[in-house]
Amino acid sequence: MSKFRNSGAKELPPISTASLPDIVFMLLFFFMVSTTMREVTLKVKLTVPEATELSKLEKKSLVSYIYVGPPHKQYQKVFGSEPRIQLNDQFANVSDITDYITAEREARDEAEVPSMVTSLKVDEYTTMGIVTDIKQELRKAAALNINYSSRKKVERD
């Protein structure tokens, strides 16, 4: 046995792994800080349209989302296959938007309310009827900053 041990006197010393936890922790903190957990589970199918003139939403904490699209398979029995509105984790009606906006406002600082943005995540194939209803409702609620969520268009030839 000992034949194989200590055979070469000039063997390379093993690489010290003592700093490995530090490196891993560094990566860990990076991901912990940069991560944003998905807050809601989508109950609607959603492919947002493509566009080129995009602007980024700066402050995520000031954004409230409205999702519109046809419900997923498991909800179609109850809610049908026509596009529906989802607020937070529930299906909602157009008339619920005012309450939603009010609730979102109350959760924020009063000084931040004017810079709040409502992001509309709407499926490409939705018809404009429902979108216009939402917009009217937002106007009534005086939530005038909106953002039509869209993907960056990939150039194709």
């Binding site: 944003t36 566009a51 003139e53 992001s119 490409e124 404009m128 005038l144 900053n145």
Partner: protein, 190 residues
Amino acid sequence: MAKKIPEIPAASLADIAFMLLIFFLVTTTMDVDSGLRRKLPQMPPPDQEAPPPIKERNIFVVLVNANNQLLVEGEIMRVEDLKEKAKEFMANPADDENLPEKTLKEVPYFGEVPVTKGIISLRNDVGTQYGTYIAVQNELVGAINELREELAKEKFGKSFENLERDQQKAIQEIYPQKISEAEPKRVGGN
């Protein structure tokens, strides 16, 4: 002599950290939400008078029907051609009689410059697809952004995004983003 407390082994620390790391790697989503930014008009007060009529030459009418077809200023058009047409309308370089009027306006950095009175009016049908609507909006915003970009290059020799805040404001005053949306009509079936 008291018994020495044995050292806590730190060998498994890396494993624990790795586990956490992998958890965050999997759950992380780095996408920044982006989109077309718009501002909705305020709800008009109920006793508001009708606004004064706008001359026809100052309005750029874009209609989208339930079959996602475009009618721009009375002509059928494809979405791809809309940007050029909108640019021509907003800039009106040759002071064409059918294109919008201009008024002289005092703008910082530029002095007195003619500013267009043109307004883009967009009306869609209830049955229009959202994707088409966004494509049209995108072209219209793109037209104005391109005009601003050209002006910024010409005047300051820099791209619009790299300008100072008040320089940007001046250019925005010359090329305002006036896109008005009319209430949709329910004409195209469904």
